[in-house]
């Protein structure tokens, strides 16, 4: 009888520990997912609210802590940046995650136009020649680095059409013929290959 009770107690403890571990893992995983979701949301906000007044290079050149990026976001809001209350923290999180004190510096526009891409997760890609390359180098870099473009390499023509249309709403200066040329060029970008160590 005593053995049965002890067994039950041991089982309860083991179950409790297991639930705690699993729960902790789940909480940690959920927190990580939530943080990533915030960063994605912040990226979306940056594309809508920040580029209304200045290009992404203004952001990309800076390296700040979360606290300082939050303060910067406050300053931008005071200046007129259309950021909603529920977007403030995600935006600060995105900026700190990508442009924190230890984030690598991105390539200069000249380097990016020449084809050498900054290391991103260890992947470097040369931009192929073509009619759209000039448009890419001269127009897209007004607001953001080319690493944001090559990260989407391999996307379908429909996807690129949607992306370019969105860029127009953000202020990209592209004539209709340039839009077609650019979409065609981007659709031909091969998916990034991971560089072997």
């Amino acid at each position: 009888m005593q053995d049965k009770r002890n067994g039950k107690r041991i089982l309860a403890v083991v179950l409790g520990i297991s639930i705690g571990v699993i729960g902790g893992q789940w909480t940690g995983a959920a927190a990580q997912d939530s943080k990533q979701a915030d960063i994605e949301k912040g990226k979306e906000t940056a594309g809508q609210a920040c580029v209304q007044c200045h290009n992404m290079r203004t952001i990309q050149q800076q390296r700040k802590s979360l606290e300082k990026w939050r303060d910067t976001v406050y300053g931008m809001i005071s200046q007129g940046a259309p950021v909603f209350p529920d977007e403030i923290e995600p935006l600060a999180a995105y900026l700190a995650a990508n442009y924190g004190p230890n984030s690598p510096r991105s390539a200069s526009p000249a380097q990016a136009a020449g084809g050498a891409q900054p290391a991103q997760g260890g992947v470097v890609q040369q931009l192929p020649d073509g009619e759209g390359k000039t448009i890419l180098a001269s127009n897209c870099q007004e607001c953001h680095g080319l690493d944001m473009v090559t990260a989407k390499a391999g996307s379908s023509q429909d996807d690129w059409t949607t992306i370019v249309a969105r860029m127009l709403t953000y202020g990209a200066k592209l004539t209709p013929p340039d839009q077609k040329t650019l979409v065609k060029y981007l659709s031909g970008l091969p998916q990034r290959q991971k560089k072997s160590e």
Binding site: Q52, R57, T58, R70, I77, S78, Q79, F84, P85, G171
Partner: protein, 652 residues
């Protein structure tokens, strides 16, 4: 002994607003019935109320009566005729920087006894003061200075030309015998040549008898359209010549010809507005200049159309209440809005920022020279904006039923106010987040100013576009609230303090505040403190002191060139020496205070407001933090003349 000013017989009347206009329907009905063409300044509806005399279909108002008699003839010096012509047009303030060549002008001013001369010790600040006066009074600004002072006046002449403000600027000139460099100073002959690009007209007055006529013509050109500064010069010997000339009274309130749009264009614009799901208005300076702020508010509210304005450098006035739920803030082609913009209507703005791709645009202005000048619009309408707003409103009444209008209004208001309400919450959160920063944040300064100043104070700003907008967004502008003038769209620094003085001269009953960055103040503006002290202008001068040209540094770093990559700020640091602006103020007998911490600010402002109410000007030197890139940098390219000189041995 200076005689007291006489009571104003032809007192300078405040700018009359465009007279009460009638609706388009009444306008057409009455003018069709009477056969009388519309005249600017007439109240057609008022005419309809009077009883006609026997044998007359419609009565004649006093304004319309056939003028009788000869103009007043003046006999005396040409300088006296000029002054008499200015007085006949209601001019009672002349800004002036010292010159010896115009003494006959001052003889005439002294004899007239009812013209106040405001002395400013530098031509640039003198022109700025004249400019500020014209902006605030909505009337002509007049300045006289020396011919050799043309160079000094140029940057603010440029600013007034960019702002399209009517100014009459007269310079003394060498006499005719001294043309060709034969005067001892070998001055150049054509003083006005450098002013040509920045004036709407200029003329050297080489015939004494025609001088009053030239002054009248100059006023006509100054009002345009386009409005702008006119420069004249007057040889001293000709000013002293005796002449006989007619003097004409001119109503400056109606000096700029007013006109209304073609009805079919208004109808088209109204149809577009009725059909658009997400229209946006952009408002420009003509709204405030014409006194149309209430009309545009009513039109925007009629269909709950959100309203925006161009930011720096095209942001001369706050033309719409900044606390209104329909106010979106500064326009951008990719601006976030409550809905996808499908119509942009621009009232009284030169439209210097491109419209969103694929969005139809309407541009309305009383200055035909700016219609379609920078970016083309799908529909351009030449009209007084105030009249156009009323005509649009009437046209909408003929297109949409009251019910439909009410549904559009309430539905769109809900969307827009939800959008602007969220942005307001964000701004409050941002203010809260930066409230207690030390050094002070710009947001905190703006907040405390809004609390401490009179509700209807006038803010004359020359702050930089970035930090300045953070401060200004904390202040409520609009009818019954504060008035914002500036920053000049010319953006040449060295304007604000002089302009604020001119504003205070025009609006003595309102509290006037000059907002300056430390860098901007150092563009030759301390001279105006002398005039502020001399004329007891009870203004507040705020110096936002972050020991640097913050905007310049940030833009240089954003460019990402060699200096940015090296982390070197070459030109923006203003410390070493650290300037004590309170000592500058004290040199001109102006009370001043330093504000170093957040807790110091509210009490300092209360003391300042008390002094202003007692009739005393005050300067506050407020320490604020630098922001953006390289804020910690105090580097500058060191160069010491003392160190490099070859010292002479003592006794040589």
């Amino acid at each position: 002994m200076t005689p007291p000013l006489k009571k104003n017989e032809n007192a300078e009347k405040p700018q009359q607003s465009v007279p009460d206009a009638v609706s388009r329907r009444d306008f057409v009905r009455v003018t069709t019935a009477t056969g009388i063409a519309a005249l600017a300044g007439q109240s057609v509806a008022a005419l309809a109320q009077e009883k006609p005399a026997p044998g007359v279909v419609k009565p004649v108002s006093d304004v319309q009566k056939l003028p009788k008699g000869e103009p007043q003839m003046y006999e005396g010096t040409a300088a006296g005729a000029i002054v008499e012509q200015l007085r006949a047009c209601g001019v009672r303030k002349i800004f002036h920087t010292n010159t010896s060549g115009l003494s006959t002008i001052w003889d005439a001013v002294y004899s007239a006894g009812d013209v106040q001369v405001i002395m400013v010790t530098h031509e640039g600040q003198g022109v700025a003061a004249t400019h500020g006066y014209a902006l605030a009074s909505k009337s002509l600004g007049v300045f006289f200075g020396s011919g050799v002072g043309v160079g000094n006046s140029m940057s603010n002449l440029y600013n007034s030309w960019k702002d399209r403000v009517p100014l009459l600027i007269g310079f003394g000139a060498a006499g005719l015998r001294e043309q060709g460099g034969m005067d001892q100073t070998e001055t150049w002959d054509n003083h006005l040549k450098p002013t040509e690009p920045f004036t709407v007209w200029n003329w050297s007055c080489l015939v004494a008898e025609t001088m009053p006529d030239i002054v009248r013509r100059a006023m006509k050109f100054a009002y345009g359209p386009p409005s702008g500064p006119v420069t004249l010069d007057f040889p001293a010997e000709l000013l002293a010549q005796k002449i006989k000339a007619p003097i004409y009274k001119i109503d400056l309130a109606n000096a700029r010809p007013g006109f209304r749009a073609k009805p079919d264009l208004i109808e088209k614009a109204a149809q577009w507005l009725a059909q658009a799901e997400n229209p946006v208005f952009i408002l420009g300076p003509e709204i405030t200049q014409e006194g149309a702020t209430e009309e545009i508010r009513a039109l925007a509210e009629k269909l709950s159309v959100p309203v925006s304005n161009l930011g720096w450098p095209n942001d001369l006035f706050a033309n719409f209440p900044t606390d209104h739920p329909l106010y979106l803030g500064t326009y951008s082609p990719s601006m976030r809005s409550s809905g996808k913009m499908d119509l942009l209507v621009n009232f009284g703005e030169k439209f210097a920022v491109r419209p969103p791709q694929g969005v139809p645009t309407v541009q309305i202005s009383h200055d035909p020279t700016i219609l379609g000048k920078v970016f083309t619009a799908d529909l351009v309408i030449a009209s007084d904006v105030r009249a156009a707003i009323r005509d649009l409103s009437d046209a909408l009444d003929g297109i949409l039923t009251k019910d439909r209008m009410a549904r559009i209004r309430s539905g769109r208001l809900a969307e827009v106010s939800a959008f602007t309400g969220k942005l307001k919450q964000s701004r409050e959160q941002a203010l809260h987040g930066r409230f207690d920063q030390n050094p002070l944040s710009w947001e905190r300064v703006g907040y405390e100013l809004d609390q401490a100043l009179d509700k209807d104070a006038v803010i004359v700003t020359e702050l930089g576009p970035a930090e300045g907008s953070r401060l200004l967004r904390q202040i409520t502008f609009g009818k019954g609230n504060k008035l914002r003038i500036g920053r000049t769209t010319g953006s040449a620094l060295g304007w604000g303090v002089g302009a604020a003085l001119g504003v205070n001269v025009a609006l003595p009953d309102r509290q006037v505040v000059s907002l300056q960055g430390d860098g901007g103040f150092l563009f030759g503006q301390s001279e105006t403190l002398w005039s502020i002290s001399r004329y007891e202008a009870p203004m507040l001068i705020v110096i936002m002191n972050n020991r640097g040209y913050n905007d310049t540094r940030n833009r240089a770093m954003m460019a990402g060139g060699t200096l940015a990559q090296a982390g070197v700020d070459f030109t923006s640091y203003l410390g070493s020496p650290d300037i004590d602006f309170t000592k500058i103020a004290e040199a001109y007998s102006i009370k001043s205070e330093k504000v170093k911490t957040p807790g110091d600010l509210a009490p300092a402002l209360q003391r300042a407001v008390r002094n202003m109410r007692d009739g005393k000007p005050v300067l506050l030197d407020i320490s604020v933090g630098p922001e953006g890139y390289l804020t910690e940098s105090t580097w500058y390219q060191r160069y010491s003349i003392a160190e490099i000189r070859n010292k002479k041995p003592v006794g040589t």
